[in-house]
């Protein structure tokens, strides 16, 4: 049992249910519902895209492209319940495509960089972090990139769509669950070692 530090977890509705509710309302003519859908899903898309190691500006570009694609293609989404998964899958594909395009450039190890050099807006948040969370951050920074990516994507998915994750991460569907467990074990081990870099 971990204490719930999330402030937005007040409602009983998961982001997935809120997203499909807003999507249905928008489709039946409630224009304002689109804002709710964007507000609900954008933070989740942020974490999904950042899991691919993109810098903040690139992450923003990928997310914007995801939303524009959604406006163009929303009629192809047959099941409103699937709107959150559709957006996440689309964002992941965009993030993966960007990674391929940026291969020639040296990828910035943004995760570690960001931890070492907190920018102004997160400095305050960092100052408030308890020791436990910063140890966790240090531990996560020591596990391999593949594990970090998998954990971050899965952590922000309510109903992981293993089929599409497996394509992006290039691993068989059946191994996602066991891999997740192994990656979490790596984090635990690193925590016990003190998570020092």
């Amino acid at each position: 049992m971990s204490e719930d530090r999330r402030t937005e977890g007040q409602s009983d509705q998961s982001p997935w249910d809120m997203a499909s509710g807003a999507f249905i309302a928008w489709r039946s003519g409630d224009a304002a519902a689109m804002d709710e859908l964007v507000a609900t899903m954008t933070p989740i898309l942020w974490h999904v895209v950042r899991a691919y190691g993109h810098d903040r500006q690139t992450a923003e570009d990928v997310i914007q492209a995801t939303w524009l694609g959604f406006v163009r293609l929303h009629r192809t989404i047959e099941d409103p319940q699937a709107v959150a998964s559709w957006l996440i899958t689309s964002a992941r594909r965009g993030a993966a495509a960007h990674t391929r395009a940026a291969r020639r450039a040296t990828p910035v190890q943004d995760e570690t960089l960001h931890a070492a050099l907190p920018d102004a807006e997160s400095a305050e948040a960092l100052a408030m972090l308890d020791d436990e969370a910063s140890r966790l951050w240090g531990a996560v920074a020591t596990v391999d990139e593949r594990c970090r990516k998998l954990l971050r994507v899965v952590a922000f998915m309510d109903r992981p769509d293993y089929q599409s994750i497996s394509q992006d991460l290039d691993m068989p569907v059946g191994s996602i669950g066991p891999t997740r467990a192994r990656c979490l074990a790596k984090v635990r081990t690193a925590l016990m070692k003190g998570g020092e870099r």
Binding site: S2, R6, A155, R180, A181, L184
Partner: protein
């Protein structure tokens, strides 16, 4: 997933939300981007320009029971539809694309839905008796235009 794994994953999620939150203006930026894109997509709207219900009955062709609707899209094509006695018939006019790839969808607020293709000159016929309010959608590969709900 074990309880321990679920709890750790939850802690990780909290950690990422704290350490690497979305930029403060991100949601507002995306809302604006979507709103702008939505405006661009307005050409996709199917606008009702003529409704027989708003006209003197004398001008209505054929049976007084029929309801004639005429829509235009900003792209310049139009859709003619007639609801009469268990049938929805109509024609797509001045459409530049491939008629064979076009589908006409009729939805109602009562949850009914019918879909049909066009013949080579753009005519369609559906055996359908819509109730409630009705909405027309003209769809071809990847694009679609939908009307507002029209009370029957």
């Amino acid at each position: 997933m074990t309880d321990g794994d679920a709890a750790l994953l939850e802690e990780l999620r909290d950690m990422w939300m704290t350490y690497d939150p979305p930029p403060p203006g991100l949601v507002a930026t995306m809302i604006a981007a979507v709103a702008a894109a939505d405006l661009d997509a307005e050409w996709e709207m199917l606008t009702l320009v003529r409704d027989s219900r708003d006209e003197p009955a004398a001008q209505v062709r054929g049976l007084a029971t029929s309801r004639i609707l005429y829509f235009t899209a900003a792209e310049g094509w139009s859709l003619d539809a007639e609801l009469d006695d268990g049938q929805v018939r109509g024609q797509l006019l001045d459409f530049d694309g491939d008629m064979g790839a076009v589908e006409i969808v009729v939805d109602t607020t009562d949850g009914q839905s019918w879909t049909t293709a066009l013949d080579e000159v753009g005519f369609f016929t559906l055996g359908a008796e819509p109730t409630g309010s009705v909405r027309f959608t003209v769809r071809d590969s990847g694009r679609s235009a939908t009307s507002r709900w029209i009370e029957l």
